[in-house]
């Protein structure tokens, strides 16, 4: 059993989606996350273990390698694709409550900004680390974040921006959220965003990379 979980983790780490996938070249022709996850369920491996000891282990490794610039966006995207393919097999177990997610993360690119590559990347990595993700899309206004926070108890919210001109909207949105929901936790990220900016606008946390955000979320739900 643990060997199968190790295989699943490996497929996620290296972005091996399924047997037919040509990527990565060194795993060509081998089973992927899709096949190994199906097999694990067939063999009666606990679905929660598949998630936490297989899929999430792989995702964590990618997150760390991405932070260390050992891999770049393409590898992370392939890992995320492998993850989402494997997750399809776990869907019934999420629905039945047999598999529990760690918490809920709400994410959106802020008002005025239509860029979504970074936001999608973070969204996939947070999901791959065992969270339910509510993706509000791009050009998201303060009211939309607030409404989503009200709908999802104890959720943490993440604001994304790519442009120097739209990151300033993070301040307005953070203030609006805090005013309406004083206990809300607001995290921010994006190319021009810095720790210093985070402090100045009164957000709770800045992460320079998705792994940093995951570690922050883990510290909050633990």
């Amino acid at each position: 059993m643990s060997e199968l979980l190790a295989k699943i983790a490996e497929c996620i780490e290296f972005g091996k989606i399924n047997k037919a996938a040509p990527y990565p070249p060194q795993m060509k022709g081998q089973d992927g996350a899709d096949e190994f996850t199906a097999k694990a369920i067939e063999e009666g491996v606990n679905a929660q273990d598949i998630l936490t000891e297989g899929l999430m282990v792989g995702m964590q490794k990618v997150g760390v390698k991405f932070r260390e610039n050992k891999v770049f966006v393409p590898q992370v995207l392939m890992s995320a694709k492998a993850m989402s393919t494997a997750m399809l097999h776990l869907k019934p177990f999420f629905a039945s409550g047999a598999v529990k997610q760690k918490g809920t993360f709400i994410i959106g690119t802020v008002e005025g900004d239509l860029h979504d590559i970074g936001k999608n990347l973070v969204s996939m990595m947070v999901e791959g680390n065992g969270y339910k993700v509510v993706d509000l899309g791009t050009d998201v206004k303060a009211e939309q974040y607030i409404a989503a926070l009200k709908e999802n108890d104890n959720a943490i919210v993440g604001l994304s921006a790519l442009l120097t001109t739209t990151m300033v909207n993070m301040e307005k949105i953070t203030k609006a959220i805090k005013e309406e929901l004083p206990g809300a936790i607001v995290t921010i990220g994006g190319a021009p965003v810095t720790e210093d900016f985070c402090e100045k606008i009164g957000a709770d946390s800045y992460a320079a990379d998705p792994q940093g955000l995951v570690e922050y979320l883990d510290s909050k739900v633990a």
Partner: protein
Amino acid sequence: MGKIIDQIKAGKTLVSDGAWGTFLQKKGMEPGECPEEWNITRADDVFDIAKSYIDAGADMIETNSFGGTIYKVEKYGLADKVFELNKAAAEISRKAAGDKYVLGSVGPTGKILMMGEVSEEDLYDAFKVQVQGLEAGGADAIMIETMTDLDEARLAIKAAKENTSCEVFCTMTFDKTVDGEFRSMMGIAPTDMVNTLIDAGAELIGANCGNGIEDMIGIVEEIRKANPDIPVLVHANAGMPVYDDGQTVFPETPDEMAVLVPKIVAAGANIIGGCCGTTPGHICKVREAVDGK
């Protein structure tokens, strides 16, 4: 006037323009507005930007068309206006440029090929309409820029080569990794890009945006190690943006930029200009530095 490439081959160092996006914002463009729509609705303001760089001494100016593919303008309901917006962009810069050159700006689509969001044909066709619009408006060269993915860059170059008679240039954007190496967001090193872009048909390559002109020196050195002959252009940011009292500012001053110009020329750059945060003031100083004043 001849080709830009011929001037470089004749040994000239040329000066390009500075920022457009951050300049448009100073002129009152709000986040959420389509910059390319200004080519129609605020043509006078766009002309002012183009003209200010010519007045600052630039040998060439870009066009307000960075986000001019269908994948960007469709978000503003302008999907059927791609050709028109790009043509207008080039016409404005053409009018301002006089006997100087016009580089038709082409930025990334924001779509990721490897995720299957779009096909190679889709991207090629998107770039094709844009570059045809830019040529129709009077662009001398197509300036494909801020690329991070080699395949997207290659398709844009191909579309420009096969559908216009403009000179075709391409620059990519690199950041420094924790180990101090230069890589694009998609993991491409400056040396990785050289042969692919040249094979696709680029007559000039280089780097734009990034973290300021200092890093550009290292990037140019890497390109030069891989290819001693290809003309190289840099459009450098005025440093990394810092947040100050409700707005972001780019910290590098014109003098700070100009002082590094001799170094970047020594590294092998042939055309020097600015990207985000640079102003006509920066270009004026770059001009002086290039002229050895």
